[in-house]
Symmetry: C2
Amino acid sequence: MDSEKIRKQAKDEFTEYLTFRKHRKTSERFAILDHIYTIKGHFNIDSLFNSMLEDASFRVSRSTLYNTIELLLDCGLVVKHQFGANSAQYERAYGNENHDHIICIDCGEVRESSSNLISDAQLKSIKKFKVSYYSMYIYGVCSKCSHARRMKLNRMRTK
Amino acid sequence: MDSEKIRKQAKDEFTEYLTFRKHRKTSERFAILDHIYTIKGHFNIDSLFNSMLEDASFRVSRSTLYNTIELLLDCGLVVKHQFGANSAQYERAYGNENHDHIICIDCGEVRESSSNLISDAQLKSIKKFKVSYYSMYIYGVCSKCSHARRMKLNRMRTK
DNA sequence: ATGTATGCAAACCATTTGCAATGAC
DNA sequence: GTCATTGCAAATGGTTTGCATACAT
């Protein structure tokens, strides 16, 4: 399978990064990376903690998760999102190409959109800045909440 | 001045919103809106609290700031941003048209870009969703940090 | 007069920090 | 053997909540 190859590639990059930066190659770090690369969508520290325990019977402390994620962000293997005030969401950088997010300001639901609204050429045009990734957040009201909101307003008006 | 007109417009919209939703028109609410519409760039709850106290000698509790901002977000007069893990940043919705942000992942500096990368037509094409605003976040390394990072790596390599 | 809005203090919760024990080098 | 890393527990800090008081309706 192709995802196998991506995991191997990610591990190699991480190894190189750790060596270059003179960080230690611990089993925790590789287990975390490997597990992250089995997750398809978004995850947060808590869901990562739980899924590692359940799926892989591997227990790492939350502190170590935070530490390791920091390294993975730094070397570009993981991307971080901050939707609203909730806990930070992460996703692997390879094998998850689309970075457009459609967020409902009422219910908080995050829908991903594959239609990339931005071209690479546009990103390259930014001066004095080395772009590593971008996130597009489109806020609004989803059809479900739009409906609920109409109902509520109707009730208020006729009260 | 034109900003005078914008403030008036914002106040009228807020009044209409409060009336329609049957919320009370308190002096705090109008003072907060009015003050926000004197701020040009980003602000957070803390800076808003302080600047209201200093510039307008008006003291509102942080609770009320949070409550009122919630209303202003709901009626679209204020826009909220969440850059990294820091406190939420806000900005007024009118008289601040550009919503592209260039964020340095090293030092956290946020630069605003006036070149709108997205067209309105592209946003309208999203199905089953009523777009109220969007935010473009471009993460990467600014020239200052890019330089600092190179220096640091050089030191590590030759240690 | 009624009940929403305000302001204080306490609670909350994701994340960070301090520190002793562990284990990579 | 040394010192970075781990994991626990405690601290932090922005935001939310509970509740008594104030005030818009």
